[in-house]
């Protein structure tokens, strides 16, 4: 039984290396028949470049998503902190009867923007 398994394994390995060799010879033939020149790239080079830009896009996507999520979280934390600070200042204002100047236009716009 074990001998059969070893034999099968060898066959798979041979098939695998045969496939690699076929791919290598094909690419070599295309590169030879169609060498890269300044303006012209051969199909194999283009195929490799295509898969390179696809994987680069995937990498940038994976990098962008957590940054965007983190940004949203930080913004909501800022808003929450600002709100509770403003509430507390208003409470202080009541307790101390100190009149604070009303919000300027700029501050109103900013408050609206943050809301």
């Amino acid at each position: 039984m074990e001998a059969e398994v070893d034999k099968l394994e060898l066959m798979f390995q041979k098939a695998d290396s045969d496939l690699d060799y076929i791919q290598y010879r094909l690419e070599y033939e295309i590169k030879t028949n169609h060498p890269d020149s300044a303006g012209e790239k051969n199909p194999v080079t283009l195929l490799k470049e295509l898969s390179a830009i696809k994987s680069r896009y995937q990498t940038l996507c994976a990098r962008f998503k957590p940054v965007a999520v983190e940004q949203k979280e930080t913004k909501s934390r800022i808003c929450a902190t600002l709100n509770k600070t403003m509430t507390m200042i208003q409470e202080l204002q009541k307790q101390t009867d100190v009149e604070l100047a009303p919000l300027t236009e700029e501050e109103k716009t900013a408050a609206d923007y943050l809301k």
């Binding site: 695998d16 012209e40 940038l60 202080l92």
Partner: protein, 86 residues
């Protein structure tokens, strides 16, 4: 069976790559396909430039993230001050 399935997909992937390369074999010779190759080459350059811009934008986003965090920390300090005042 999962090993066998993995082995199978491994071999199939190699076969499909060979088929793809075979289909490209004559591509470089025929004028119409040659111009298509040329277009693809140009498109790859354009997409690479877009990806460069995207990478810069993501770097900028990462910097913005850190300044937002700094802002958040100083706001929380302010809040503590007001709380202390109260």
């Amino acid at each position: 069976s999962s090993d066998l399935e993995r082995l199978c997909s491994h071999v199939n992937e190699k076969i499909s790559n060979i088929k793809k390369t075979l289909s490209l074999r004559n591509c470089g010779q025929e004028p119409t396909l040659k111009s298509m190759l040329h277009k693809i080459g140009d498109e790859i350059i354009v997409v690479n430039e877009l990806l460069n811009k995207l990478e810069l934008e993501i770097q900028y986003q990462e910097q913005t993230n850190s300044s937002l965090k700094e802002l958040c920390e100083s706001l929380e300090e302010d809040y503590k001050d007001v709380e202390h005042l109260k």
